[in-house]
């Protein structure tokens, strides 16, 4: 795939799925602690999301960084919008902002708040 094809493919994934997580590994078998944290937060909230394992394709791994002008993986997208990486998602979850965002975007999730 050309670089432009990769950008188009990423755009399709992000547009065609309400919640997309570009991560190292899969939601059931994360291969990086940062990716694992975000996958766990989404699973904790009961959010149905599409996981894309960037380790399977180097062009996607690099392409998604260009797509969002964001240098690291994981990357979370909700309804086509780039939400952030691990630090931002965790911060938003702990503040209850991620749950608010999901509600505002009409994404089904558990209403429970932070639990130890």
């Amino acid at each position: 795939m050309s670089a432009q094809d990769v950008q188009d493919w990423i755009g399709k994934q992000v547009a065609g799925n309400d919640v997309v997580l570009f991560m190292k590994g899969t939601k059931s078998m994360p291969q990086c602690g940062f990716s694992m944290q975000v996958a766990q937060i989404l699973q904790h909230l009961g959010v149905d999301f599409k996981d894309i394992n960037v380790l399977e394709d180097m062009s996607v791994r690099e392409g998604v960084k260009a797509y969002s002008n964001w240098p690291t993986i994981p990357q979370l997208y909700v309804k086509g919008e780039f939400i952030g990486g691990c630090d931002i998602v965790r911060e938003m979850f702990q503040a209850g902002e991620l749950q608010q965002l999901l509600t505002a975007k009409g994404i089904a999730h558990n209403k429970q708040t932070l639990t130890a």
Partner: protein, 76 residues
């Protein structure tokens, strides 16, 4: 591989002269840091924009030689 904490702080300071910067070497290996950057420059920006500004100041090192930088940004 890795970067010295002073180099990270210096690059951020160059871009945000007013910033209060705290950098913690989490594992003592020069590779896993937590940084807090507090600057007026972040006012009115989204979290993503704030972090992009810091990554930009690090000139491509983030995600490259700098694998793990847990970042927290705020305004004074």
């Amino acid at each position: 591989m890795g970067m010295a904490a002073e180099d990270i702080a210096r690059m951020i300071k160059e871009r945000f002269p007013d910033a209060e910067i705290r950098i913690e070497d989490l594992a003592g290996d020069g590779n896993h840091y937590a940084a807090t950057v507090i600057s007026e420059a972040f006012r009115g920006k989204s979290r993503v924009e704030q972090h992009q500004m810091v990554y930009d100041a690090l000139k491509g090192n983030m995600g490259g030689v700098l694998h793990a930088l847990a970042l927290k940004t705020a305004t004074p």
